[in-house]
């Protein structure tokens, strides 16, 4: 287990040095850490606590969501060009990258919708469903992306 985490850290470090030089690495790590916390807090509460996410973890979840949104948009700006059609990359990586971006965008929009006062409650309830679905998609896509990248390095 520890070995796996060490490997993941080494990969992230190398990846950051390669693609996010200097201060940009903060953005990259911000994205990873915020996503990790979002996924852990979100899924653990939904799966284990009948009431769902609440209390201090909810506050931190919202705060981490803000960090994730900023970092994601910056990463997309910097890295989008590496995953367009013309660039030579495995197609799976491209698909997973854009799936992650689309689901991330969905997560941001569905979060934002619960804070906007002109949307009805029923609409918001629908948005919560979308939020959870997007979170699942993003988790799956990033998992495949990581697995593929790690295997390629090996």
């Amino acid at each position: 287990m520890l070995k796996g985490w060490t490997r993941l850290y080494e990969w992230a470090k190398t990846w950051a040095e390669q693609f996010y030089p200097g201060w940009r690495s903060w953005v990259f790590f911000g994205l990873i850490l915020s996503f990790l916390f979002l996924a852990l807090s979100g899924f653990l509460f939904v799966l284990l606590i009948p009431r769902g996410l609440y209390g201090l973890p909810l506050l931190l979840h919202v705060a981490a969501g803000g960090i994730f949104a900023v970092c994601l948009s910056m990463v997309v700006v910097w890295r989008a060009r590496d995953y367009v059609l013309d660039i030579v990359q495995p197609i799976l990586l491209k698909v997973m990258f854009w799936t992650f971006v689309v689901s991330g965008l969905c997560l941001i929009i569905t979060s934002l919708s619960s804070m906007i006062s002109f949307l009805s409650m029923n609409f918001q309830i629908g948005m919560i469903g979308w939020h959870r679905f997007s979170a699942l998609v993003s988790l799956i896509s990033i998992s495949i992306f990581l697995q593929y990248s790690l295997n390629r390095e090996k």
Binding site: L59, M115, S117
Partner: protein, 778 residues
């Protein structure tokens, strides 16, 4: 012969069948389908099922049990909600308890037979149905415990004199404006139980008082020819013009009671508000009546209208009468995509409201009762504060001190607005439990601690009865003037500036001027001024009429003493020292004592004109007396006495000082409330999340301060959050987070815009490539 035997058998068989058939329970009447109410032109029956002829001598009062019985099954009706208050098995969420008040001893004790949290079972306190009827029958509908069976009557009760309180059908169903709730209350207080319905329905005049009759009197004894004034037997003189030639009476009956009938017992009004400023419930203003939602069948098991209610009359349909059921529809309706609930009530969009609010809050939390503010509202209710009884006497009371809204969790775990009362009572502590003591028991043992105001009033009364005094006797001390009122207590007002300082002064108020009771004079003079002499004599004679006087009245001036002996004013030596101004006193075993003792004076100064009626000094004194009495008994069990007030338990420590502790018996009693519902535009949250979620929001952080009859700084203070079982620091943090929420919205919006734009560009590029509009990059 055989034929005769056969005929006898047939006749006997028919007779038996008829008897059995008549004993069978009558079939439950079904609704005919007509939406009209039949004209109720019916004969009146008395409690012995005999027709009432108004012109007869001494007719009995009408009985609803037998008058309504031919068409309405009384035994079915008496299962109803309003007649089941004494049934401990009655399920359902907590409602407003009854409050047993005793102003003198500072007792405010919540009572309920339903074992609601924070209430006391009347049976445990020795309150039998008879006591209960006298205490609260004024705002009860009759039936239930007020109509006890023979074996349920306690020996001390006087049901044989008063009669039972049958269900007062007309109290709700009489559409006539003659229906008089005040008359009902008056008759109940006079113990005229069986006459109360006739009097309050306006069918006739009821005179006499059962409370003044001997305990052996019975309805068959009839009137007492020897006493038609004081202990006159209650009787009803029917209004003959209401009867037709067949002795039938027209009852203006409605099956759906008007709101006024409900509000006789269910009014709730803010204390500091005039009736001109008072707004009704938004549903009432829209034209709905109470009974439009709070419906019932013949069983009178009324729908209370809260979520999760188990209604035996309506089954699942009861859910459609809740706020949610009416405005949002039940799940069944939703499946059919019905837009709203019952009668198409407006469907709430709840725009911008996270759905979790509907899971955690009752509808009333946002839509009902006053907007939460720093200071909670004090309200009075009909049943607790005796509202709606009009007459020469003032019936309404300030106590219990009911406050709202307190946001607490209800039986279903939802946060709902509640009304709250802090209990106050004397009790004994045994095995860490507090057992309340009846107010009369406390008074019997330590009465002298509670009569300070009466002591002053007695002196003033004695002086008041002397017509030659030339004005109203008053007591002046520390800038306040105390006068006796007609309830046997005192009124207080500010003294003129020239009298604002100084000690105790007995004076006479006449035409705006205040003069000393005894003017200054020179006692050493050879001849006393005749006017002064007369004045001294009438004042001393008046004081001598005070029945509670501890001794003979006297007047001390300089080194002289004046007193009455054998009807003459005598002058003697004052051995107690020099008195520069005339000083009225009692001579107790030859020693002068002030007309009013220091304890009484301190108590009067502290309590008269105040809402609170007790001082810490009084409480300490009473506890000392009660503990001493207990110790004098040869009891092996250690029992100590306590006074509960303001959310704390007051008791004496080992040094005899008054100390306080928290105790579950001192916890407040709360009950959820539904009305008054505000318009949607005034609902909580209409201004956004920060109506509740901010660092100092009264919704979460408002203080609920203990209040009781005791004047003290030592009271329990709880935050609203504590009633919701929420963590205060977290709620503060959560509230603060709403300060940065606008920033978060901007961040999310910009991020979404950036990601969305790039995705759009990529998508357009893909489309461009596919359509050949965009060439492949080299």
């Amino acid at each position: 012969m055989k034929r005769i035997v056969l005929i006898v058998f047939i006749v006997a068989g028919l007779g038996l069948f008829n008897t059995v058939a008549s004993q069978r329970p009558k079939k439950k009447p079904q609704w005919s389908g007509s939406e009209t109410v039949p004209v109720h032109l019916i004969p009146l029956k008395d409690e012995y099922d005999q027709p009432i002829i108004p012109t007869e001598v001494n007719p009995l009062p009408f009985s609803s049990r037998f008058t309504c019985a031919p068409c309405h099954n009384y035994n079915v009706i008496k299962q109803g909600l309003h007649f089941s208050g004494g049934n401990p098995d009655l399920s359902g969420r907590a409602g407003e308890p009854w409050f047993w008040l005793d102003e003198k001893t500072g007792t405010v004790l919540p009572l309920s037979y339903q074992k609601w949290k924070g209430t006391w079972d009347p049976n445990e306190l020795g309150i039998n149905p008879w006591d209960f009827a006298l205490l609260f029958g004024r705002h009860m509908t009759g039936g239930g415990i007020l109509e006890p069976a023979e074996n349920e009557m306690s020996p001390q009760s006087r049901w044989n004199v008063s009669g039972k309180v049958e269900i007062n059908c007309m109290g709700c169903h009489n559409a006539s404006r003659m229906q008089n709730h005040s008359e009902w209350a008056k008759q109940i207080l006079r113990e005229n139980f069986r006459w109360a319905a006739s009097a309050s329905a306006g069918l006739g005049e009821v005179g006499g008082m059962a409370s003044r009759l001997s305990a052996t009197w019975d309805i068959f004894d009839g009137p007492n020819p020897d006493d038609t004034e004081w202990a006159a037997v209650p009787s009803v003189r029917y209004n003959a013009s209401l009867f037709n030639s067949n002795h039938q009476v027209f009852f203006d009956i409605t099956d759906k009671s008007s709101d006024g009938r409900c509000l006789s017992c269910h009014s709730v009004t803010p204390v500091k508000m005039s009736n001109k400023s008072f707004d009704s419930d938004v549903h009432s203003l829209a034209g709905l009546r109470c009974v439009d939602c709070h419906r019932n069948g013949l069983e009178h098991k009324m729908i209370r209208g809260y979520e999760g209610e188990v209604s035996l009359s309506f089954g699942e349909e009861a859910e459609t009468f809740t706020c949610r059921g009416c405005h949002m529809g039940t799940d069944k309706n939703k499946a059919k995509r019905t837009a709203a609930g019952r009668l198409g009530a407006p469907f709430p969009d709840h725009r911008g409201l996270p759905a979790v609010h509907l899971e955690r809050l009752s509808c009333t939390a946002c839509h009902s009762v006053p907007w939460p503010s720093k200071d909670l509202n004090q309200v009075r209710t009909s049943r607790a504060n005796r509202l709606g009884i009009f007459g020469v006497a003032q019936w309404e009371t300030d106590r219990p001190h009911i406050i709202e809204p307190v946001y607490a969790r209800d039986d279903f775990g939802k946060i709902a607005p509640h009304r709250l009362v802090w209990p106050s009572f004397w009790g004994k502590i045994a095995d860490r439990e507090v057992i309340p003591i009846r107010a009369e028991e406390v008074f019997a043992q330590a009465g002298q601690a509670f009569v300070s105001e009466e002591n002053v009033a007695q002196v003033l009364l004695a002086l008041y009865q002397e017509p030659d005094l030339g004005g109203t006797p008053v007591l002046i001390t520390e800038g306040k003037i105390y006068t006796r009122n007609f309830d046997g207590g005192l009124n207080v007002s500010d003294a003129p500036e020239n009298l604002a300082s100084g000690g105790v002064m007995w004076a006479v108020r006449t035409r705006g001027a205040i003069l000393p009771m005894i003017p200054d004079f020179d006692p050493e003079a050879e001849m006393l001024d005749i006017d002064v002499e007369i004045r001294i004599q009438i004042v001393l004679e008046a004081l001598a009429t005070n029945e509670s006087a501890p001794g003979q009245p006297a007047l001390l001036v300089n080194e002289k003493m004046y007193f009455i002996q054998d009807g003459y004013l005598e002058k003697g030596e004052n051995l107690e020292g020099n008195r520069p101004t005339p000083w009225l006193c009692w001579l107790v075993e030859g020693k002068p004592e002030p007309l009013i003792g220091e304890f009484d004076l301190r108590t009067v100064k502290a309590t008269v004109g105040e809402e609170q009626t007790l001082t810490e000094e009084q409480v300490k004194l009473v506890l000392e007396i009660l503990n001493r009495t207990q110790n004098s008994d040869e009891s092996e069990i250690d029992v100590f006495y306590t006074y509960i007030s303001g959310g704390l338990m007051f008791l004496l420590d080992k040094d005899g000082e008054l100390t306080t502790q928290n105790h579950k018996s001192a916890e407040p009693v709360t009950w959820p409330i539904g009305h008054k519902v505000r318009p949607a535009q005034q609902s909580l949250g209409i201004n956004g999340c920060r109506d509740c979620h901010r660092a100092n929001s009264p919704f979460f952080f408002g203080k609920v301060k203990g209040i009781g009859p005791l004047i003290t700084e030592r009271v329990r203070v709880r935050s609203q959050s504590s009633f919701m079982d929420l963590t205060l620091p977290y709620q503060r943090l959560f509230g603060l987070s709403f300060s940065v929420r606008p920033l978060l919205k901007v961040v999310l919006f910009v991020s979404a815009l950036v990601c969305g734009s790039i995705l759009l560009i990529v998508l357009l590029r893909v489309l461009g490539r596919m359509s050949g509009l965009v060439e492949k990059r080299r």
